[in-house]
């Protein structure tokens, strides 16, 4: 990058030298251009909560722009950005500088939501064949060019650009609109269509019919008397005006921070800055502490209990997840690091101090398709959390909190926590054993040959069903047994068999669920074979060898999944068309996903997710974008 910039500057310097023939000017010009150079990551707003940064964007050269805009992270930013002008073009033709990083970001606080991406620019002319809907707009910020298209903005500084969309939050717009609306003498507005919408209807009714669209004559009235319109806006028009004003206000705030005060994410987050230096294909950053402070329910909490809110915020400070992505020829490695502050860290450390329960392996068939286990010491975690959280709450004078503190303290004294945590220690496991045909019944229509009169009869049938097993470790099988016996007395659906319990029509109201409560485990499964024939485990058929050893060595979490096999068995209709497109790329290929975790320290836990597959992907860039998209959707 330095070499490229240097070459560009040298050419420009040479031009000056020929015209001005003044070496001092050459020197100053060179210095001026160099100091003006900008990296795309320096344009990421400090308000960003999650960032996905692709270091090696050469991987994306083959991706078509039409394909790119289908991703959620692109659609949110600029649904109207790309039109027919991008047809048949690839990212290579878009004027992007492939020596700079491409950074996709998203952020939300209590005032606004922002999303977009930053990138390097090598050819501005080519860039505007893609951003052809953007028109130049005025800005007072020196050295920055602003282009806008509806609510989307493109800002260029030096050889980097940022596409940004800032939208005020629904709550903030409502708060201001409602206050103006009521101040004008109206009663509190209640959106009657909201409940209908909540019921799941995408609105497809006739707006005019519902009185939302104004009368045809209204437009004439507007033209005749525009002042009248300003004073007599209906609620929705007022809301639109407030939204537009806030959009402009918050957009300018973000710009001011970013370009005038020069506060960007790099300046406020050392973790992010450090992550950017990693020589990998991509990195991601997720600031959970901002997610905590921006959580909707907590705004109310913040108003009622400001001190407690600050204490909780302190507890969450430093809760940042960062990760590296490394693309191999037949593998993708994701190295994640979950960071937290020392107090929260001490809770996690205690919580994650449990060892893998070997008994679990007996109930995991060697041919299973997926397996996970997580090991938690709930007792230790509870005690540590109690020691940290109760003192925070004790200082609050609010009667409700005080009452709850008392309740928690009394429960802690009176409840036999040993029995409680011996029953459920916190460690769990689960397996996915593929799809099997299970017996069920159905009603069949039949017709009398004489009259064609119709009748019904019950016949045996078979349906395909995914087979799952989940369970947890216990030192007290006697306690779950008491609960099961109680249900057995209350309903005939709970039946005790020699080595297991069966609950009739428990799974999807149609199939039995089997509960095996023995050998220090409580196991729930819809696998009849496991309950009937292997209630004490699979014996020689159980998981052993490499994966059993890895599971035993694992700390907090271990899991694997035969993605290729499973995908082929999952019904397509479970996913939307975009998800199916992503999954189609993996269907038919053998792929194996494995997650391991390191020992939890007081400051972090490391995770490693490895996805290996047979053969190489035609387009690893597309795979990378799929990952970006998944993380973007998950982090929203």
């Amino acid at each position: 990058l330095y070499f490229k910039n240097y070459s560009v500057h040298l050419l420009k310097a040479k031009h000056f030298a020929l015209t001005m023939k003044n070496t001092i000017i050459i020197l100053f010009t060179f210095i001026g251009f160099t100091s003006f150079s900008q990296h795309s990551e320096e344009l990421i707003p400090s308000e960003a909560v999650s960032v996905f940064s692709i270091n090696n964007i050469s991987l994306l050269k083959k991706i078509s722009l039409d394909e790119l805009v289908k991703y959620e992270f692109m659609q949110e930013v600029q649904s109207e950005l790309f039109d027919g002008s991008t047809s048949g073009k690839t990212i290579k033709d878009s004027g992007l500088d492939f020596d700079q990083k491409l950074n996709v970001y998203y952020g939300k606080n209590e005032l606004f939501e922002l999303s977009g991406f930053t990138f390097g620019i090598s050819n501005k002319k080519q860039l505007f064949t893609v951003f052809d809907d953007f028109e130049k707009a005025k800005t007072n910020i020196t050295g920055v060019e602003l282009y806008s298209s509806y609510m989307n903005h493109l800002l260029i500084k030096g050889n980097s650009g940022i596409v940004i969309r800032v939208e005020p939050t629904y709550e903030k717009v409502s708060e201001i609109t409602d206050s103006i609306w009521v101040a004008r003498g109206n009663s509190m507005f209640f959106d009657e269509s909201y409940n209908d919408y909540e019921e799941g209807d995408d609105y497809d009714g006739d707006y005019e019919e519902e009185g939302i669209v104004k009368d045809e004559n209204f437009e004439i009235l507007d033209e005749m008397n525009p002042e009248n319109d300003l004073l007599n806006k209906n609620y929705w028009e007022l809301r639109d005006s407030v939204t537009t004003e806030l959009q402009s206000l918050y957009f300018n705030q973000v710009l001011n921070n970013l370009f005038v005060k020069e506060i960007n994410l790099i300046k406020v987050s050392p973790k992010f800055t450090l992550q950017l230096t990693h020589p990998v294909d991509g990195i991601f950053y997720l600031d959970n502490s901002k997610n905590f402070s921006n959580a909707k329910g907590l705004w109310h909490f913040q108003t009622l209990f400001p001190t407690l809110y600050d204490d909780m915020l302190d507890l969450y400070t430093g809760n940042i997840m960062v990760g590296d992505i490394v693309l191999g020829e037949s593998s993708v490695d994701v190295f994640m690091e979950a960071n937290y502050g020392s107090e929260l860290g001490s809770i996690y450390q205690k919580l994650n101090s449990a060892k893998f329960d070997k008994k679990v392996l007996k109930y995991v068939h060697k041919n299973n398709t997926g397996f996970f286990a997580y090991n938690i010491n709930l007792k230790e975690g509870y005690q540590r959390a109690y020691d940290i959280v109760i003192p925070l709450l004790e200082d609050e004078k609010d009667p409700r909190i005080s009452y709850n503190v008392l309740l928690a303290e009394l429960l802690n004294e009176y409840v036999n926590t040993d029995a409680l945590f011996d029953t459920y220690k916190g460690s769990m496991f689960g397996t996915f054993n593929g799809v099997k045909k299970v017996k069920t019944t159905r009603i069949e229509f039949f017709y009398d040959e004489e009259t064609f009169e119709y009748g019904e009869r019950e016949v045996e049938s078979e349906e395909e069903m995914p087979i799952f097993t989940v369970g947890f470790s216990t030192n007290r099988n006697d306690i779950p047994e008491k609960v099961l016996r109680h249900f057995g007395r209350m309903t005939s659906r709970f039946k005790k068999q020699e080595k297991y319990w069966v609950v009739e029509e428990a799974v999807l109201n149609s199939l039995p669920l089997y509960i095996i409560n023995r050998n220090g485990l409580v196991v729930f499964t819809n696998d009849e074979d496991l309950a009937l024939n292997h209630a004490d485990g699979y014996g020689k058929q159980s998981l052993s060898g490499k994966y059993a050893k890895k599971a035993q060595k694992s700390k907090f979490m271990y899991g694997y999944f035969d993605w290729g096999q499973t995908l082929n068995k999952l019904p397509r209709e479970m996913f939307n068309s975009k998800q199916n497109e992503i999954l189609d790329a993996m269907r038919g290929k053998a792929g194996f996903m494995e997650l391991t975790s390191s020992k939890t320290t007081i400051s972090k836990t490391d995770f490693h997710l490895k996805y290996t597959f047979d053969g190489s992907y035609d387009n690893s860039g597309k795979y990378l974008l799929d990952l970006v998209n998944s993380i973007y959707v998950l982090s929203k």
Binding site: G200, E444, T451, E463, S510
Partner: protein, 224 residues
Amino acid sequence: MKFIYLGIILLLFTSCIEIYDDITIKSDGTGTFKYNINLSSSKVKVNSILALDSLDGKKVPSIKDIQAKINTYSQKLSEKEGISNVKIESNFTDFIVKFQCDFKSIEALQKAIKEVIIDESGTKDSKEIDHNWLEWDGIKLVRSIPKITTQYTEKLKTEDSELLKNGSYVSISRFDRNVEKFDNSNAQLSANKMAVMLRANAHSLTQNTSLLENTIYLTNQKKP
């Protein structure tokens, strides 16, 4: 309209759907219409769909929503002129819904159904709604598929309609006198010669809606 769409999606993803469509017409033009939908052979699948929040980007209705909608249709239909004895039985253990009503005339039945569809879906002034799928002149019954339903089947994606390959549609026409002849060579005449049955595969029906078209001619003489 959205509810109808969701209903169709729900039916589609339950490949083993069985539909029973039975109309009895007396010589005076009055009669009984029965329509049963049987999803019991896919009840695990239906239950798993109902357990989802959304499917194909649309919210999945709860059993309570479905029941409420069925009741609305039933109530509205029972209020229509020429329609009486509306009965709906819904069994959400086996997922069977049975509808039945008496009608004064074929015209009254079609008019009532159209009005309810217009009322519930907001569809109006469309050729599909104007279409009469039943015609009765006292000695001849002409049956086809309502165009309002073919409108939906035409929009089905290939992969979606493939799911209906195990489904079946049975259409029965009953009379109080003998059937003389009928046009559709796939139809069967009952042993007592007073009923005609047509069976079609649900998938084939989405590809060719004329499969259930039939003109049935009756004898002049009433059965003693």
